[in-house]
């Protein structure tokens, strides 16, 4: 079992948790050592996996999933611990590893209870990694919930502002989503076998059997898509997102907006669309409307907010809406764009939240009306913020441009009026994004200094620089060399597109 490389993505965080358990509460050095070693190991593992994966693909291995393994867990219900990755999961694992790595450095000085903070942080990472490696719906769902629950304590104990309210709201809404999801998964399971065969939780087997009849597909599609959509901040289930992000501590915001919201998009893609293609064809329009609203509504809301975290939280609603929107276009180009957008948004939001945390740690306010001219005081952080902003509004050369161009290009391939209208509306959000990003940059970084106490503030420390540089390099990397990502994920769309076309 442990010869499979993918298992180590779950094993390493568990070892980190055990390591942290052995540390003393006050032993900050030991805690940091465990975290740095562990998150570096995860990052190295992700890179190694990526290299291996590309080599295998280059050698002409064209299975749907590579590095597969399956171990029987609950025999009476045919539940396995089944793992396997395709290009998309490899990139998602990479993204998660990068953000866990950056998040460790961003929470270098967390107080109080640093040990407990990192324990829950590692549990959350276990869930995230486990989710992306699973191809068994049961284990996938289990890891999904494992990733959700630590948020309650992470926000509740270490957050700021109305943290108790936000933590409870976030947990209950996401768990509510997973209740619908669970029912959808149960339905898929009991209909997964052709007449008389044994039911299975394995995603690949279910898609091969294609035995779910249409009347059930409609209901199950709605349940699974809404279930994952809640985590993807789909309108009208997005309201947990602004409150949750605004109150969460820096590293948690990073991980949550950067990775956890991607669980939603990935799940819609992997389960709702892939396993229920017929319903996806016929019901996509409902969710196109909802995600279209998310995109425009999120962008407009961001324009009027004055709290830095709220601005980014609403911008996340808009950008994550775009991920789901692109997935629902059901063609290869748009889906490629969706994956690019997941990566791009993950990295740039993580950067945003890291920077906001750093600025807030110095100025003790996140209200943009009370800040100004920070570029003169902390040029390093200012420049980073600008880069993140430009990535968000889609400046060529950074990741946002590649992602959004691909999405709109792909979406426009659907030639009917309904799709065209919604694509045009969604495209308009680029302009609105530019409005709120430039507004923040103008007020926060340029202009006169609002508060003379701010003049005494210092620029970034080494660990902050380290954390931000990692993210910026990745953002620019995707922006300048999007092609290798394209090659990595190309293969993964074939089965999905085939399933959709077969169902038409």
């Amino acid at each position: 079992m442990f010869t499979n490389i993918l298992i180590w993505f779950v094993v390493i965080p568990v070892i980190m948790m055990i390591g942290l358990g052995l540390c003393r509460n006050s032993g900050m050095k030991a805690i940091r050592a465990v975290m740095v070693v562990g998150s570096t190991a995860l990052l190295a593992l992700a890179i190694w996996l990526c290299v291996q994966f590309l080599q295998l693909r280059a050698a002409g291995v064209d299975d749907e999933m590579l590095f597969t393994g399956s171990w029987l867990w609950y025999a009476p219900l045919n539940i396995h611990l089944a793992v396997g990755v395709d290009g998309i999961s490899v990139l998602m694992l990479m993204l998660s590893a990068i953000i866990v790595f950056a998040g460790t450095f961003a929470s270098w000085k967390i107080t109080p209870l640093p040990k407990n903070f990192f324990l829950w942080f590692c549990l959350l990472s276990t869930g995230v990694f486990g989710f992306f490696i699973s191809i068994d719906m049961f284990t996938m769902f289990m890891f999904y919930e494992v990733a959700l629950i630590p948020m309650y304590l992470l926000i509740g104990v270490w957050g700021t502002g109305r943290k108790e309210y936000s933590a409870m709201k976030l947990t209950l809404m996401l768990m509510g989503g997973s209740a619908f999801l669970m029912l959808g998964l149960l339905g898929i399971y009991w209909h997964s076998a052709p007449e008389g065969g044994q039911c299975t939780w394995n995603i690949l087997e279910i898609s091969h059997n294609a035995s779910i009849d249409a009347s059930w597909q409609y209901m199950l599609f709605c349940f699974t898509f809404v279930g994952f959509g809640v985590l993807g901040a789909m309108f009208p289930f997005h309201t947990w997102s602004p409150d949750g992000h605004a109150c969460a501590p820096t590293a948690v915001s990073m991980l949550h907006a950067g990775v956890l919201m991607k669980l939603g998009g990935y799940g819609c893609f992997r389960i709702a669309i892939f396993l229920l293609p017929q319903a996806a064809n016929e019901l996509a329009w409902i969710f196109i409307i909802l995600t279209g609203i998310s995109i425009v509504y999120g962008a407009f809301s961001a324009c009027v907010q004055t709290d830095l975290k709220y601005i980014n939280a609403y911008s996340s609603v808009s950008h994550c809406g775009m991920v789901l929107f692109a997935i629902l276009m059901l063609n290869t180009t748009a889906m490629t764009g969706a994956i690019l957008q997941m990566l791009s948004h993950g990295l740039m939001t993580a950067l945003f939240f890291a920077l906001i945390g750093m600025i807030y740690g110095r100025t003790h306010t996140r209200d943009i009306r009370q800040m100004g001219g920070l570029m003169k005081i902390m040029p390093y952080l200012g420049v980073c913020y600008m880069i993140a902003g430009f990535a968000s509004l889609g400046l060529p050369g950074l990741s946002g441009f590649v992602a959004e161009m691909t999405i709109f290009f792909g979406s426009f391939q659907n030639a009917d009026l309904f799709h065209r209208v919604f694509v045009i509306c969604a495209t308009a959000s680029i302009v609105i994004t530019a409005v709120y990003i430039l507004r923040v940059v103008g007020k926060l970084l340029l202009g006169p200094v609002q508060d003379k106490h701010h003049l005494e503030l210092t620029d970034a420390t080494w660990w902050e620089r380290f954390s931000t540089v990692t993210l910026i390099v990745c953002i620019a990397g995707i922006g300048c060399f999007p092609n290798w990502i394209n090659e990595t994920i190309q293969h993964s769309f074939v089965p999905i597109i085939n399933a959709i076309q077969a169902a038409v």
Partner: protein, 492 residues
Amino acid sequence: MDYSQFGAMIPELIVLGIFLVVFFADLIAGDKSRKCFLTPLTTVLFALGTVAIWVIPASGETVFGGMYVNDSATNAIKAILNIGVFIVFLQSAKWVESDEVAIRKGEFYELLLVTLFGMYLMVSARHFLLFIIGLESASLPLAAMVAFNKNHYESHEAAVKYIMTAVFSSAILLVGLSFVYAFSGGSLYFQDLAVTIQTGSMSGLLIVALAFVIAGLGFKLSLVPFHLWTADVYQGAPTAITSYLSVISKGSAAFAFFIIFTQCFGSVYSDAWEWMLYAVIIATITVGNLFAIRQKNMKRFMAFSSISQAGYIMLGAMAADTLGLASMIFYIFVYIVSNLGAFAVISTIENQTGRLSMDDYNGLHKTNPWLSFAMTLAMFSLAGIPPFAGFFSKILIFTSVTGTGSMALYMLVLIALINTIISLYYYLLVVKAIWISPEAPKVESFRSDCGSRIALWICVAGIVFFGLVPYIYQYCVSSVEASAGFLSMFGV
């Protein structure tokens, strides 16, 4: 009469043996100072007995003309109940040494063992007469146990409420059974009854009888609308008894419910009792949850939480097949460790400081990090959060219910799932008080007694590993499948 038939009742004989040893030891020991050996004696004997029940394979025999059966499924149920009782013994070790109780601790153990004996009979009975004997010996001594804190007004009040309810519910059950007797044409054997029902036509009499039986057992299980006694009794009873009531007593009643309804009334499942149970389950889960939200007293809180958990347990009866029973046994096992884990914390804090309100738990993690940790795990497990055992037990029971494929059952599961979110809210309130509340801690730092600590460790280990390690569930499934008696009646 062939006395060798008693040899088939191995679990009952073991409990009876322990009871006799404890009884005579208590009798001989005399005054208070010389009774200090009673607790270790009972606990060790009981642990050995539990191991024996696990190890000795069930004979699968039906004795006394078919009144009593000891097969692998009932054996598994008894073994699981035993583990719960063992944990209760450990966590009450400190309480029984308190001044007020120490002189009567022998009685506590004796009464408890008698009720356990009764519960064994309830599970193994295949004849309504034996079942009633089991039910009565399981419930009447419990009233004496509820009144155990004899200097406390609430304890008396709770005992009176409990005895009234117990007698009342038995009466209702007996009325139902007399209808059943009339219907079956003079036999109280489960088997005869099943045959009569299967061959005969549906009648109003049978529906009324079923309604009475559900009501009678519903009182024991505290299903809504028969739950009104629960909160008061749980609050008034000594905490050790409350935890016993909330898991063991409830668990055995749930098994008996399942067995009676599938063995006798299996053939009229969809005609008669599916819809009754459907409505009762929805009401139980929802009402229990909604009332739990506002509770501040931890024992009342756990009372309403256990009402709603009973609704989830009954989902296994809704599935009414082997997978359903196996999931139900597993659910109760997990529920035993989770709930007793929570009660171990509550009773430890009560014994040490006398505090019982949820507000007293504010900031607990600063003074008692281990207790806080255990309580958090127990709450997560009760709420069904992975990777803890409660998640698996909930999902497995949901899976078994949806297995029959009817849309109505999918809707039932949806309601149950939405209710888990409500329950998550109030379980998180406890977590919030412990970890998030900014107030200064009210409970000072203390070192809990040895018994509670062992009990807590067992519970925490169960919460963490029962789900991740699949063997417990497989044990449940294989022991249910090995019971030929169960398999035969599902085809009815």
